[in-house]
Point group: C4
Chain length 213, copies 4
């Protein structure tokens, strides 16, 4: 059996894949809070001092907010595309693991952007990381549509859906570019991007009312 053929083997339950994925999503999303630390505030005493320090942490809060919404959106769309698959094979499992790998990395560019909100490199790396996450997600989506789509959903999926998904990649990269002009602009673009696909795109006529199981 050829190397690539071996990845088409396997008819695995989706249950444990969802469980592991949900674990990574939940831990990554919740670890974001660790960056809002108070350790280095030890020499703060008065209300005024603490207020000033917290106000200075505003970029960390915005980074946390943007990243949580992005992870939440990925989780929702992940839920959607796994619902399209009739089962999993090894190719899908490895694409999913690579996706989760970069999903679990999200706290790092988030912390970097929060710590250096005025540094174009730090702010643009966030956009590059999110564009990369979106690309791997698109690969996973395309793989499922091509190889594992439930027979009863054949013909219900928008044939241009994959092409349309690149809008997110372009938008995150636009934010990454904007970081070199004005950091605040990048924050705005990053914050708006997940809102475009806040709801998974509908299938074509007829798919609407169906439970996604």
């Amino acid at each position: 059996m050829s190397f690539f053929k071996r990845f088409e083997r396997g008819q695995m339950r989706l249950g444990r894949i969802e469980a592991f994925s949900d674990g990574v999503f939940a831990v990554a999303a919740t670890l974001l809070v660790l960056d809002l630390r108070v350790d280095h505030l030890a020499d703060v005493h008065s209300v005024r001092e603490l207020g000033g320090v917290l106000a200075g942490q505003a970029p960390k809060f915005f980074s946390w907010l943007i990243s949580f919404v992005i992870i939440g959106k990925f989780w929702l769309n992940h839920h959607h595309i796994l619902g399209l698959a009739r089962h999993a094979n090894y190719g899908m499992v490895w694409l999913n693991l690579i996706f989760l790998m970069f999903q679990s990395l999200v706290p790092f560019p988030t912390a970097l952007m929060g710590a250096f909100p005025g540094n174009p490199l730090a702010v643009s790396l966030f956009g590059v990381a999110m564009a990369f996450n979106t690309l791997i997600f698109i690969a996973l989506h395309a793989y499922i549509l091509r190889n594992l789509l439930k027979p009863e959903l054949a013909g219900t999926q928008d044939p241009h859906i994959i092409r349309k998904s690149f809008a997110g990649v372009v938008s995150y990269l636009a934010g990454a570019g904007a970081a070199w002009v004005h950091a605040d602009l990048a924050f705005v673009i990053y914050g708006l991007t997940p809102l475009f696909f806040i709801v998974p795109p509908p299938g074509r006529a007829g798919a609407e009312g169906q439970p996604e199981t």
Copy 2:
């Protein structure tokens, strides 16, 4: 389809929503312990010294205790209200994600209050954060009652339940106010508030004995 209408789409399984939610609850509740660190105790040697340092950490312990009980109570009531829904739609998923976002934030105001128990701003921010968490939870509860209630539960829910839930918001805000008078009073109010709704309120007659599935 209008923007808002799109949120009413979707008939998702509750299973993965519960799995992701339980993950966030469990991680947030368990991360609270990270604030009871011993790193900065490195220059402590004798029993007396260690005892003194641990006694000085009492506010951190109280903060941990209060927050764990609050997260536990939210988890229990979340369990209850998701049991009222016949399925999920995108509106509910996003309300739930926003709720989980602020639930995952709990370790931050907890750490702040534990580190600065004498600073009115730190102590009152805890109450404001918990009032905000309660408000989003009420919105999620109201959304389910209005749009997704299981047909067989129609008429079994207390029609004044949402109004009554604001008692928690008021109580947390009272604690936030009390922080500016006396921090210890705020701790007491924060500690007592979750005990009011330690058990989800009963439905109206007839709903009692039913399994909540």
Copy 3:
């Protein structure tokens, strides 16, 4: 309805209680590793230096090992006693939450003992914490046996099981006492205690071959 009666209400699925509990167990057990940090090793260069520093961390490794086995044993026995219940009620949910609260606390006494292996207070606090965890577990076990036992298991449980479980409490407290004489002795006692109940005690005749569902 009286205050205490309200806790007997509710017929909840065990599924989400297990999911939340498993999350707390898994996170608490895995967070233990965070204490084996290398941050403070920054000025180490040669193999000899690193070897010396790692050897000096032996108490942290023993603390990690003992705590992981203890959490694993609690998880296994928790699995066992939840399998005895026909459903959950609010009394059980709150006993379970209090148990999980102190389970999630385990990384703190573990870190304390690992950081101050020669300090009797640090080492004995570990034993007191574990004795307390065992006590709450016993309360949860007794509550289930008294109020929620599956009808088909009636008469299969060892009537002296609760009394026997206090052996663990006594053993942890003996270790806590030994810490004031010799710290190494306490480590040995703490390490041996979970091994006594490594396997949940059998029920009485007839229960052996049954699947625990």
Copy 4:
């Protein structure tokens, strides 16, 4: 009943064992990111400075990448071998707990190798830790094959599978040895090892098309 016989008792559901295992896998894999911290970068300002610091963190990124792939591969193969068991008994539960214990330890040798990429002891300890993880996994696999194999899978498993699995142990130990010659060589060997068994080996004729439940 003899001590060892007691471990053969129990017919436990695999559900909670999978849930706890998935939790530990997900948390351990996601905690790896905590080592890519930016705390110590506080005195970095220009793009050039930040770029230099990030480039200097390359060993930490490679360590993270290798460890995530290794944990992902263990998760996938764990999924596979638990699918072979008809139920769990206490012997399997404890082997699984010991496996998870060392799986949850992975962030420590990863951090050590990332922090001291030029120190042969740090780099070789990573290989020893992974060889040890593989050994315990082999023990779990062998235990399931010998004692808990589903009757319908009898004769479908490669009788030499356990012997072949030692290739991973040998490869990790070769990397550990190579670390004393040239650290980069060890990184390459560690990175290639999980790729050998990226897909669980097929059973013998006939087992291919079967769903793994």
